[in-house]
Structure formats: structure tokens, C-alpha cells
């Protein structure tokens, strides 16, 4: 433990150190800490002023939130690091994202038995919005992504897998490597995938394809349809709602029925 020495000897030593530093034109760390404390006070009041004028923007505009987050990232500041941070306390950014985190966890937990812990960002977005009710603030997908990034700090394998034009959100600690991810991406179009499709598109050997599919089955991320005509199909419940909730116009419906 460092302690500033007391006594004549210590005073002399300190004077020597100060002189040396002044000579080299550098400022001592403890002086800088005092300086920082002063700057912090000033900054705090600037932030308060900003908040009094613009706090609404953060709540109302997801576009503003994106800009705000990007600016913070550029200068090396994480406004969501702590609920005790200035940004969180005065702008209310924290509460917005932390509460969103709670809602995301709850949705993922509620659906885990069905999709094994994998859900599309679209479906997550849709369900979170539903859960928030009509009068709640609007929440964008960017907001969800940032909230999810923060959740990673708590272990439990929250992650995002790029698939198609969007993402799959993973909420279980299943280890998904590149092979798994690529198969998920392949399955995105139809919601299912087969061994021969994998071999054709990815040019893998049979064993590699089967191994990955087995992994997905074991983790509960895929369901096996062994009664499909031709060969067995591996369906991904995480991708189900994409297909079943698509609106179909009368003309399209007529074209679809054989």
C-alpha cells in the first residue's frame, strides 16, 4: 500500500521528486487526478444542461440513440457500462437499455423449450414490442442489439449469429462454431436443411454434414423430420415464424395451390 511518507526525510524526498518532474515538464499523477475531479464536475453540469433540453430525444428517437452510441464509441466511452454512470443517471439511457435487457431475457426464456435457445432478431423484436404494450416507447433492432451486447457480461452465452439479411440471437451456452453457423445460414431460406443440400452447397463430406446436424439436434436447435419424402429434413424452429407469418395476397395464394 502506498502512503505519502511523513517526516523531514519524506518531505525532502518529495521536494526532490517534484523538482525533477518540474524540470522535465511533466505533471504528477495525483495532480492530474485533482484536475480530473474538477473537469468531472464541469462535465456533469454540462450533461445536466444537455439532459434538461434533450432528454426526450433519447427516449423518443431511435435514430438519435444510434448516433449517440456511435459518438460515445468513437471517443472511448461506454454509456451503458454502469447504472451509476453519468450518462445513465442523467440521460436515462441506462434504464432504457437495462430494462430492454430484462425483456429480452424473458422472451428468450419463454421460447427456449421450443427453439432450443435460438431466435431470429425479427421475432425477438416483434415479441418484445408486443410485451411492451401500445404506449411504450418505440424500440428499434439497433436498440436490441446493443442491449444484447451488454447481456454478454453475464455469461450464459448471449450471442448474435449473422444469417441471411439479419441475425439469429443465441441465448444458451451452446458452443456453435463456424460449421454450425454456416448450416444455420443455409437453412434460413426454407427453415430446414438436408444432408444432400449441405453436401451440394458447401461441398462437405457426408460425415461432416451429419456431425453438424447431430450437434444441432442434441442442443435442441433442430428437429428431425424423418418422414419427409426423399431424405430426412432437419428443421429449425427458430426460423419457423419467418415462414408462417408471411402475409399472402389472394393472387399469390391462387398461384401457390397446384
Amino acid at each position: 500500500m502506498h502512503r505519502r511518507g511523513v517526516g523531514a526525510g519524506a518531505i525532502a524526498k518529495k521536494k526532490l521528486a517534484e523538482a525533477k518532474y518540474k524540470e522535465r515538464g511533466t505533471v504528477l499523477a495525483e495532480d492530474q487526478i485533482v484536475q480530473m475531479s474538477k473537469q468531472l464536475e464541469t462535465f456533469k453540469s454540462n450533461l445536466e444542461e444537455f439532459a434538461s433540453k434533450h432528454k426526450q430525444e433519447i427516449r423518443k428517437s431511435s435514430q438519435f440513440r444510434v448516433q449517440f452510441q456511435e459518438m460515445c464509441a468513437t471517443i472511448g466511452v461506454d454509456p451503458l457500462a454502469s447504472g451509476k454512470g453519468f450518462w445513465s443517471e442523467m440521460l436515462g439511457v441506462g434504464d432504457f437499455y437495462y430494462e430492454l435487457g430484462v425483456q429480452i431475457i424473458e422472451v428468450c426464456l419463454a421460447l427456449k423449450h421450443r427453439n432450443g435457445g435460438l431466435i431470429t432478431l425479427d421475432e425477438l423484436h416483434h415479441r418484445v414490442l408486443k410485451g411492451r404494450g401500445k404506449f411504450a416507447q418505440d424500440v428499434s433492432q439497433d436498440d436490441l442489439v446493443r442491449a444484447i451486447k451488454k447481456l454478454k457480461a453475464m455469461g450464459n452465452g448471449f450471442g448474435m449469429i449473422p444469417v441471411g439479411s439479419s441475425y439469429l440471437v443465441q441465448s444458451v451456452p451452446a458452443e456453435l462454431n463456424m460449421d454450425h453457423t454456416v448450416v444455420l445460414q443455409l437453412a434460413e431460406k426454407k427453415g430446414y436443411v438436408s444432408v444432400s443440400e449441405i453436401r451440394e452447397s458447401l461441398k462437405w463430406e457426408r460425415e461432416r454434414a451429419c456431425h453438424v446436424l447431430e450437434d444441432l439436434l442434441k442442443e435442441g436447435l433442430a428437429w428431425l423430420d424423418s418422414q419427409a419424402s426423399g431424405e430426412p429434413q432437419y428443421w429449425l424452429p427458430a426460423l419457423f415464424s419467418e415462414l408462417t407469418s408471411r402475409d399472402v395476397t389472394p393472387e399469390e395464394a391462387n398461384q401457390m395451390t397446384p
Binding site: R4, A29, Q32, M36, I75, G164
Partner: protein, 386 residues
Amino acid sequence: MDRFTWSNGLLEMNETLVIQQRGVKLYDGEDKAKLDVGIALLSTHQLIWRDLKNNECCIAIPLSQIIYFEEQAAGIGKSAKIVIHLHSAPANKEPGPYQQSKFSYIKLSFKEHGQIEFYRRLTEELSQKRWESTPMSQPIPTATDSQTGRTRAVGIVGIERKIEERRKETDKNISEAFEDLSKLMVKAKEMVELSRSIANKIKDKQGDITEDETIRFKSYLLSMGIANPVTRETHGSGTHYHLQLAKQLGDMLLAPLEERGGMMVLTEVYCLVNRARGMELLSPEDLVNACKMFESLKLPLRLRIFDSGVMVVQLQSHSEEEMISSALDNVTDKGSLTAEEFAKMLGLSVLLSKERLLLAEKMGHLCRDDSVEGLRFYPNLFNSQA
């Protein structure tokens, strides 16, 4: 999309091409239009769109039909768009790709960028309104401000005008907010640089820092959301705030932990605590940093990280041997168990039951049978009957 008419895409004598952009996909309101990606062309008189692959598929709409338009920023996996709000189609409109539409706006989606310049040119053309001074030889039906037009002002056009005014007002507020935000960020950046300088000095031992000062420094970092450059700890952990928090959690979590067999996943704790607080919520990192202090504060709780990466809070009284022997007993009793079956028996979450079984396996008491039917655990007979 029902405002568009089929067009040959050729410009008239008085008409000039202003800008064209490839890779544009059209939207009917929120829905993707039944058209492929194509080229959007802006002239002094019209907005034209042509299919890239099938050049004969070409549609156009007069610029006078546009009430107002706005940008829609790009998102993840989504291109930037320009949303264009339109007047209703006049009664004598020529046929087009859509007979009817429930939307009164369209979107241009810029898959190959170019939206900024297109937006700028569109703004120019709509403010200059060059089509009014140089009418095309073929009279294109426009929404006229005739006597009947004025009475419409109270109706749809009036509402749309109000929307535009409100949008302009919002825009003004947002741009002012952005300006103020930029100034704020400049000051924040100074603080970041100062903190880095301090951290370097601490590292190089230039100057004597007391423990008090170190704690103060950490709390400054916490307030600003700056990662501690010296220790790389996330954002000033180990501060007074986290100390207080740890004590609060020590009180608050005892009962819930007992109810749940002595262990809770950290995400569950997060939801429980924040739901109870309602306001001034904890960040995930706050929670983790507070839980890390349980041991040093001699509280009866521990933060524990399993091999799988799952983080839990468990009661200190919750002995490891107890968990393992209970797992072994249950598995021996039933012959074999999966995590789901075990969970049902104990009334625990599947995640935690699995961790218990894995722990018992790690200690050599259980063996696994890993198949597509699931992960099943058996007593390790090699061990017990060897």
C-alpha cells in the same frame, strides 16, 4: 405503388435527366414491391424506375405527385431508404403496375448506396419545380390546386401537411440536439484522454498515488463509462458503489436462493433485481462486479462460473459435495437420467440440473451417453465396481 404508370422511359424535349442510381428496389409502403432490383432515374419532371434485367419493364410517376419525402437510415442488413409520400392518384391516371394500394407512400431502397446524392437532387428538383415552367407535350395529370383542390386541403392533404410540419419541427429539435451532443462529446473526449494520461503515469510510477486516490480515480472512470486502462477491468470495478451493491444483494437474494435450491443463474438474478427496483436499474456489469465482491465482504453468497461459461450466484452453505452426492443418488436410483428428467425431479431449471450432472461427471461419479436422443447420465460403474 398504385400511383405509378407504365412508361417507355423516354424523356421529353424539355425534360432533363438529373441523376440515376442502380440497385434500387421499390417498396409499396412497408411491403416489398413485386418488382426486382432496378435503376431509379430522376428527371426534372418525373421519377422513373426501370427493371435492370427486363428493360421493357419501366414505370414512372410525375414529381408533382410527391407531397414530401424523408430518409430512412440503414440498419443491420437493411439498406438506406428514401420514403416518398404521394398524393392520391388522379381519376384519369393511366394504368400501371398496381391497380390499388393501401399505402400512400413508397420507398426506394438503395442496395448499392447512392441515397445521399439522390436525396439531395430530389430535394433540389422538388424545390425548383422545373416541371411547372416547362410542361411536357403529353399532359400528365397532376394534383391541381383548383377550387376543388382547396377544399381537399382540409382532408387528406391538410393532414399530410400537418405531418410534414411536425416532422420538420422534430427534425429541427433533433439537429439542435445533435449539435449540443457534439459539443458535449468534445468535452467527454478530453476526459478520456486525461484518464489515459493518469493511467500511464500510474503504470510508470510517476508520482505517488495513495489508495484513496486510486479508489477516487476508479469512481471517476465509472461515472464517465471509461474502461480502466491500467487493469483493463471493466469500467472501474471495485468501487464504493459496488461494495454497497454487494451488501444489498447479499440481503435481497437470500430468500429467492433458498426457494430455488441454493443456486440462480445470473441472468435470472438480473431480471429479479431490476424488476424489483423499477428505476435506477443495474447494468449487467454492475451486477457482475458487485457479485465478485461477495467473497471479500464475507457474505454468504458466491459468484461462480461453470466450465460452460454459465454464471451463477450460489449460497455459500450450498456444499458442492451435497450437490454431487444428490446427483449420484438420483441417477443410481433411476438407473439413468437426462438433464430434463433431473430438472423435473428437483424442480430446478434444466440449465442448473445439467450443470450439477456435469459436475458429478467431472468428479468421476457419472458417465455420459451422448446420442441424438439427448445427453443421458449413468452411474460410473468403472469407478464404483472397479
